[in-house]
């Protein structure tokens, strides 16, 4: 059966209630614990095996065994978590916090100290 003014109640409630949206960026957003923001490495546990490099679907990770460097192209990473799953030493993890925007694509390098 057709009704009239069935939306009025919602309209009135919205007029007198707080907004649903937040005042981002003045109020920063709190991310849940599982948010896949970016990949992090605990380099001291890394054995530079290169499994993450071979498993990465977009090919964002590059492991240089000679120079003992672990490189990641942040702009190529799709935060799928496949490297985290594959890592034999469990030194990779995905943590909340998205990477900052940038004007150029660059690679981030982590060097393994002796």
């Amino acid at each position: 059966m057709a009704q009239f003014m069935s939306f009025t109640k919602t309209v009135l409630r919205n007029l007198f209630s707080k907004p649903v949206t937040t005042a981002y960026p003045n109020v920063p957003r709190e991310y849940p614990e599982r948010t896949r923001g970016h990949v992090e490495i605990r380099i001291e546990d890394c054995i530079l095996c290169g499994l993450c490099m071979r498993s990465c679907p977009p090919g964002a990770i590059h492991v240089d065994r000679e120079a003992k460097k672990w490189n990641i192209a942040r702009f190529d990473c799709i935060q799928c978590g496949y490297c985290v799953e594959k890592c034999p030493k469990k030194c990779l993890s995905i943590v909340p916090g998205y990477t900052k925007p940038d004007s150029s694509k660059h690679t981030e390098t982590v060097k393994k100290e002796e």
């Binding site: 057709a2 009239f4 069935s6 939306f7 599982r34 498993s55 935060q79 799928c80 496949y82």
Partner: protein, 359 residues
């Protein structure tokens, strides 16, 4: 005879979130014929099977579509699991069912919003999307992503939902139900909305079968077809009725989808009650060899996945038939004889997902 003219519609049009082009052959204000052309967002994802191994393809298939991303990943994983004779743990099946129904919820709410936007009810569009936001938050809490979830893997799922999380989701959904019924009443009963939907875009039962419609489009024409009834994942343990309508018009499609929103909440509730304890994935060794057809019910209708493997880590062929692709002939049928002003609305009633269609 009135003068005929051709009006191009799309690929850029305010009502279309994604590009599809239609040439509308008009006679005054009436559409005589609609000629579609697709291919604006073709990405060649299916041919990536030659370059990405079958495990990496899970992440590729997820990116076919931003709305049913979970179900795309799940369909592909299930097909490969069947080829490799992998028995997925029951808990993983239940988790997949819960996430599938959450996908259905947010997809249908998205569609309701877009529909409201198409007939010019901006405030109703905002209300629908406000409700959808809660589902997306639930996805972010449970999987870590709002659009791409990356929780499927061959052999199960990657993340578990602890009991308190499942309980909190059910209570969120219980609270949502009241707000939902308030919003959906506007869609179903409001005079202005009904005047736009009722009797518009009729596709009869026979036409729906002949044109091979799927999903809510088919069910709104009175045909009881739902792939969930085939009992994949945990649907064999879930008790639910297929929602249909005999009215065959746009309002019927709206009714079916609204019915499915409430049904999805019911299915999630049942699944949370019945979910068994145990492992969430099994280790998978070796490469697949063989072929399989996987059929599953996405929010937009039946999708199927064909996977052919050759015993190496690269698949021979992967093919996805998405629901929008099957619904386009039915959409063209509804456009014939429609008024020009109803065209955006009629395109929307099939819930088009062009990225799915073109892959």
């Amino acid at each position: 005879m009135a003068k005929r003219s051709v009006v191009p519609f799309g690929p850029q049009h305010p009502v279309l979130p994604e590009p599809i082009h239609l040439d509308l052959v008009m006679e005054d204000e009436t559409v005589i014929e609609a000629v579609p052309s697709i291919g604006y967002v073709h990405r060649g994802l299916e041919s990536l099977v030659k370059k990405k191994d079958f495990n990496e393809m899970v992440y590729v298939t997820e990116r076919i579509c931003g709305i049913c991303s979970f179900m795309h990943g799940m369909g592909y994983c299930s097909a490969v699991e069947k080829i490799m004779n992998v028995e997925v743990p029951r808990r993983a099946d239940y988790l997949r069912t819960i996430w599938s129904e959450m996908s259905r919820l947010h997809s249908h709410l998205l569609w309701l919003g877009l529909l409201a936007d198409a007939f010019g009810f901006e405030a109703l569009f905002m209300q629908s999307w406000r409700l959808r936001e809660k589902i997306l938050d639930m996805f972010e809490i449970s999987t870590g992503g709002r659009v791409i979830f990356s929780v499927n893997k061959i052999g199960g799922v990657l993340k578990d939902m602890p009991e308190d999380m499942l309980k909190s989701f059910v209570s969120i959904l219980n609270d949502m139900e009241k707000e939902l019924s308030e919003t959906t009443t506007v869609f179903l009963n409001e005079y202005t909305v009904r005047s736009r939907l009722e009797g518009v875009g009729i596709i009869t039962k026979e036409d729906a079968i002949r044109r091979g419609a799927v999903g809510p489009m088919m069910r709104a024409s009175g045909i009881e077809v739902d792939m969930r009834k085939t009992g994949y994942a945990a649907y064999s343990d879930i008790d639910f009725e297929v929602i249909t309508s005999d009215k065959c018009d746009s309002l019927a499609r709206c009714q079916v989808r609204i019915g499915e929103i409430f049904q999805s909440i019911g299915i999630i509730r049942q699944a949370v009650e019945k979910i068994p304890e145990g492992e969430i994935s099994v280790p998978v060794k070796g490469n697949p060899d063989g072929e399989y057809f996987m059929r599953l019910e996405q929010p937009r209708g039946e999708a199927f996945y064909y996977v052919r493997a050759n015993g190496t880590k690269f698949l021979d062929r992967m093919r996805v038939r998405t629901p929008t692709f099957a619904n386009i002939p039915a959409m063209l049928q509804t456009l014939q004889g429609a008024q020009f002003a109803d065209v955006p609305l009629l395109i929307l009633t099939i819930d088009p997902c062009i990225s799915c269609t073109e892959r």
